[in-house]
Each structure stands twice: as C-alpha cells, then as structure tokens.
C-alpha cells in the first residue's frame, strides 16, 4: 500500500522580485513500511521536499497523498493534526525544548493530541529508544546521541505512520551516527515508514532505496 505519493509536484517560492523554483515537477512514491533516503546538495530541493512531505509546507501545484488523504485540500488545523498523529519529526539539531526534562519533551505531542497516561507512555517511548535512565535530565545535560534518541522517542510517541528525519546524524560523530541508524533500522523492522534526508552516502546505505535530487528534480534512484 502506498504511504506517500507525490504527483507532478512543483514548489515555487515567490519572493516578489524573482521566482525561485524549489521543486520542479517531482513525482515520488513510497510504500508503507519502506525506508527511503533522499540525497542532494544544499539547495537541491531536498529540504523543500521534506517540508512538503512533513505537511509543514504546501506545494504550488501537483498533488500529495499521505496515507490515502489528499493533503493539499486540508486547512492548517487539519495539517497540524496530521503532523501530530501520523508524522514524527527528527531534526539535525534535535529541536528539544531546553527548559523541560527529556520526559516532558517526549510527552509534548500528547499534550496537543489530548492523550492521557502521558507519564507511562513517555517513559515507555524513552525505554524503546534505550534512554529511560535520562528521563529527568534536561537536554543541556545530555550528549548529542542521547538528545537524538530523546527526539526519536518524541517522534514515536503518537505511534506515527511515517518518521521524517532531516539529517538526523548531521551533528553526531561516526560511532553515534551508526547507533542512531541502527535504531532507525529497528523501527523500520517494526513496520514504520521512514524517510531520511542526508548527504552522507554511508547513512543512505542503511536504507532500501535512495533518491538523488538536484535543482528541484529527481535525477537518479538507487535500490539496494
């Protein structure tokens, strides 16, 4: 079953004076349970693609179906709900709130979905990524790898269909990068769809399929 489907998708940034093409007629499919990587240099359009897949941005033209839903037709609140329930984000710079504990960070999406049992569920998520001992620590008291694990626990807490990771190992050393990638591989085995943006070939090699983007177009696709 298709989880993500972009059809003839174009994104043009209109800055008033000049129009910049972010994505140029891209079509892309990703099945449920797949683990895909998107590679490209900076400015290639891979982040734009990620933002649109992540329902943070809307395409100028073309369609985007996520889990069978036409996302373009949804309003901002509905998009927020999809981000909360169906998507989990992992960022290069972790993006944890600095003044609350790891556990409170992980529980944050539950606040917006109105779930109960936040304590137990956030602890369970922290355990799932192997960092339960750090539950009471502030982000500033943790290493990069630990922070990224907390961020992954946060992405997992609402049992999302898709995890979107934007350069998740960009700020990590090689050993930690590989342990994070093993974690993603584990999650992939549990059936979660994972899309990873990266510019490192050995990170991309963890995924089943890699798409190469340049100047807003998909120029190559490699299956492993």
């Amino acid at each position: 079953m298709t989880m993500i489907e972009l059809t003839n998708l174009t994104k043009i940034y209109d800055t008033g004076e000049l129009k910049v093409t972010g994505l140029d007629d891209i079509s892309f499919k990703c099945d449920e349970g797949e683990m895909v990587s998107i590679m490209g240099h900076s400015g290639s359009g891979k982040s734009t693609m990620m933002n649109i897949i992540g329902c943070l941005d809307r395409p100028t033209s073309g369609t985007y179906h996520l889990d069978g839903v036409d996302v373009a037709s949804l309003n901002d609140d509905q998009l927020a709900k999809i981000r909360n329930a169906k998507l989990g984000f992992v960022f290069q710079s972790y993006n944890l709130l600095p003044k609350i504990s790891a556990q409170q960070n992980v529980a944050l999406p539950l606040i917006y979905s109105g779930e109960n049992h936040r304590q137990q569920r956030s602890m369970a998520a922290l355990e799932a990524v192997g960092i339960a001992v750090r539950a009471k620590h502030l982000p500033s008291e943790m290493s990069g790898g630990e922070k990224q694990r907390v961020a992954i626990a946060r992405a997992l807490i609402n049992n999302p269909k898709v995890i979107l990771a934007d350069e998740p190992t960009g700020n990590l050393d090689t050993a930690t990068s590989h342990s994070i990638m093993s974690l993603f591989t584990e999650l992939h085995k549990k059936g979660i769809t994972i899309v990873i943006v990266t510019h490192e070939e050995d990170i991309a090699s963890y995924t089943q399929r890699t798409i190469y983007v340049r100047d807003g177009k998909i120029i190559e696709e490699k299956k492993r």
């Binding site: 609140d77 709130l97 003044k99 609350i100 109105g114």
Partner: protein
C-alpha cells in the same frame, strides 16, 4: 491542549525567566497597588466626610434671615416669636424639631488664657440635629434655659484653648468658672472632637442666657428644623415658608420675595458627594495610567518573548500544535503574569493601607477602606490588562510559519 496544560506551560515559562518576569510584573504591581490604595483612600475620605456631615446635622433644614434677594420694605429678623410659631404643631405639622441658635464671636478667659471662640446660644433640642458627644460632664438642659443660667459646654478645641492640652482625667474643667464679656460662667460639660471641617472652637450656652446677657434682644440667627419624616421635607419647607411670610407681613403675591432663606443641607451633601465622585474618578484615572504603562510593559516583554521563543513555537507546531494552541499559550502566559503582578500589588496595597492606619488630610482623619469590590475589580483589571496586552504578541506567535521558525536561531 487543555487550559490546565496551558496554565502549567505558562507557569513554567514565567518561572524559567524569574528576573524578567518580576521586572515585567513590576508595572502591574505598581499599577494595581496605586489603584487599590487611591480608591481605598477615596472611600475612606468619603466615609469620613459623610460621618462629619451627619454629626453636623446634614438632615436638617436651616432657616436664616440672610436673604439672597433684595426685599422691598426691609428685612424682619427671625425672633423668638417666629420660633414659637414654628413650634406650633397646628401651623407646621410637617416639622418635628425646631432648634434656634444665636452665634456671636467672643473672647473667653480662664486664668491667663484668653481665646476667641464661637459663642453659641442654643436650646437643648439641638442634639436631635447635631451629634454632640459628651466627653465629661453634662449637656445643657431645659432648666438652664429657663433659669438663664450662666453655664457653658466647651467644644474640644475651646477646652484646649482655655485649659491647655492635658492628659485626660488629670484636672477636670467641670465646675470651674470661665469669664465671657466680664461675666462668670460655670463649665458644666465638655464635648468630644468633631474633627473635619465642623470645627471644635465653640462654647455653648443657653439661648436665653445669650440673648439676655450678651447680645440683648430676642433675635435668633438661625433656626434648624427637622422634617417629621424624610419624605416630608418639601412639605415642611412649604409650611415654614407660609408661616414666616405671614408673620413677616409679606403679601402672598408674585414678586414679593422672602426675607429669610431656607438651606436644604441635602443639596450641599449631594454636591459634596458629586465632588467626591469626581475625586475618586480622578484617583482611579491616575491608577489607570500606571496600569496602562504596566500593560505596555507586558506587551513589550511578550513580543520579546515571542521572538526569543520562535524556535520553540516552530517545534511545537511541527509536533502538532495548532495556531490556536500557541495563541492561547501566550495569552494565558500574559494573563498569568499580570494576575500574579496584580495579586502582589493587592497584597502590597493591603499592607500599606494597614501600615498607614489613619492619615490626616487637611483636618480630616481618613482610614483607607479596602472593600471586596476593589479587590475583585483590581484582579479583574489585571487579568484584563494581561489579556489585552498579550493579544497582539499571541497573534504574532500563532501566525508564525513553522518552517521559518524551525530555522530561527
């Protein structure tokens, strides 16, 4: 996101920036403290004024022969006979108390002390109009009036002028003799302090004594009357006017003016209350300005906070916060900030009001009164100020683009 959750988030954020939060609150603290104190003072002042006024006989009507209009054929002064006529229940049924007075400035002396006092010839019935409270001794009696006795009751200030400020109970002036116009008068009583604008430099003696031994003649200066019922004041005025016009041979034709005037103290009281209301309004306005300044402070800090926390807003939006969630979070934060400031300001005002206890404005003793309504208004206003000044920053925060916000450093 539930309100409870928003409150918790707001509290976390306020607590995380203690110094900044307290500085922001300061404006509201001062504003609320000022409003509460000023209104409390205003109310205390009003209470004090009303009390003084009632002690002085604000419910009475005062007849005097000082007409404001030119009277053809001369003015007939008010006399004892006029008083007798007004005491006639058949002629003026709407009047219950008739209290004539004759006042004269005079010098009283005791030992080496000389004092210029207001000498008042009165009838004992005056106590139904004016609230004389005895300090020592007794008030004047009908017996004193009949006997034209040389007895006096001293006002609080007059007692001090003549006998000096003594510790209470040392030497009582009761029974001693003072001199007025070369005659000896025995002090039979002293009064407690009126305070305020009522004045305490008076010496009371029987009206008969005053007329026969000091001023001579049968003229009275002023007649205080009380209507038998509060709703009969206008009837009383009409009846008194009719009787006095007849007695003073003023023909009941248009254009013939009264040679006396009747002052209704209610009018004075009303205008006094209007003045006080304006005074309170002015005080409130002063407080309101400080609240506005405090509100602007909150708006300022919230705007800074939105900019500073752009990334946080981006993160929250990425994980599913709606525009509304962010908006409410910032609104509640602003309201919580100013409510906390309001509570502190209120506490401060209560403390200061207690510390002040009683202050003297001019001659009037004023005790600040903090009523429940001020408390609720102050807290309501501080929440309102927070919400109002939080609105723009909150809309800014809610409207931020998640992608831009996530990129914000």
């Amino acid at each position: 996101m539930s309100i409870w959750e928003s409150l918790r988030t707001a509290w976390q954020s306020i607590f995380a920036n203690k110094l900044r939060s307290s500085l922001t609150m300061l404006g509201i603290v001062i504003g609320v403290c000022a409003v509460v104190l000023l209104v409390a003072l205003g109310q205390g002042f009003q209470t004090s004024m009303t009390k003084t006024f009632n002690d002085m006989g604000a419910s009475a009507l005062y007849i005097s022969s000082a007409p404001s209009k030119t009277v053809v054929g001369g003015i007939r002064p008010l006399t004892n006979e006029d008083v007798t006529a007004l005491q006639d229940k058949n002629l003026v049924p709407a009047v219950s108390v008739v209290s004539p007075t004759r006042t004269n400035r005079g010098t009283a002396s005791y030992g080496n002390n000389n004092a210029s006092e207001s000498l008042m010839g009165i009838m004992p019935v005056i106590t139904k109009i004016r609230n004389y409270k005895m300090d020592q001794g007794r008030f004047l009696t009908d017996q004193d009036v009949t006997n034209r006795a040389n007895v006096v009751v001293l006002g609080w200030q007059a007692e001090i002028d003549l006998f000096g400020a003594q510790a209470p109970g040392t030497t009582s002036p009761i029974g001693t003799y003072i001199r007025i116009s070369g005659m000896k008068f025995q002090v039979v009583g002293t009064c407690q302090k009126f305070g305020g604008f009522a004045g305490d430099s008076y010496i009371l003696m029987p009206l008969t004594t005053m007329q026969s031994k000091i001023t001579g003649g049968d003229v009275v200066q002023q007649i205080g009357i009380l209507a038998s019922k509060p709703d009969q004041v206008d009837t009383a005025i009409a009846q008194v006017t009719a009787v006095l016009r007849a007695r003073h041979f003023i023909r009941t034709v248009a254009g013939a003016a009264d040679d006396f005037s009747i002052t209704d103290m209610r009018e004075t009281l009303n205008s006094m209350e209007a003045t006080l209301a304006a005074f309170s309004l002015f005080m409130g306005a002063v407080g309101a300005i400080s609240l506005i300044v405090g509100g602007i402070g909150i708006m300022n800090i919230m705007l800074v906070s939105v900019t500073e926390r752009t990334r946080e807003i981006g993160i929250r939006k990425a994980i599913g916060a709606r525009r509304r969630d962010i908006l409410i979070q910032f609104l509640i934060e602003a309201a919580a900030l100013s409510l906390t400031g309001g509570l502190i300001g209120l506490g401060l005002a209560v403390g200061v009001a207690h510390a002040m206890g009683q202050i003297t404005l001019g001659q009037t003793q004023v005790t600040p009164e903090i009523s429940y309504s001020i408390v609720f208004i102050a807290l309501g206003v501080s929440i309102g100020t927070g919400l109002l000044s939080g609105t723009y920053p909150a809309f800014r925060a809610g409207g931020l683009d998640p992608i831009e916000s996530l990129r914000h450093e």
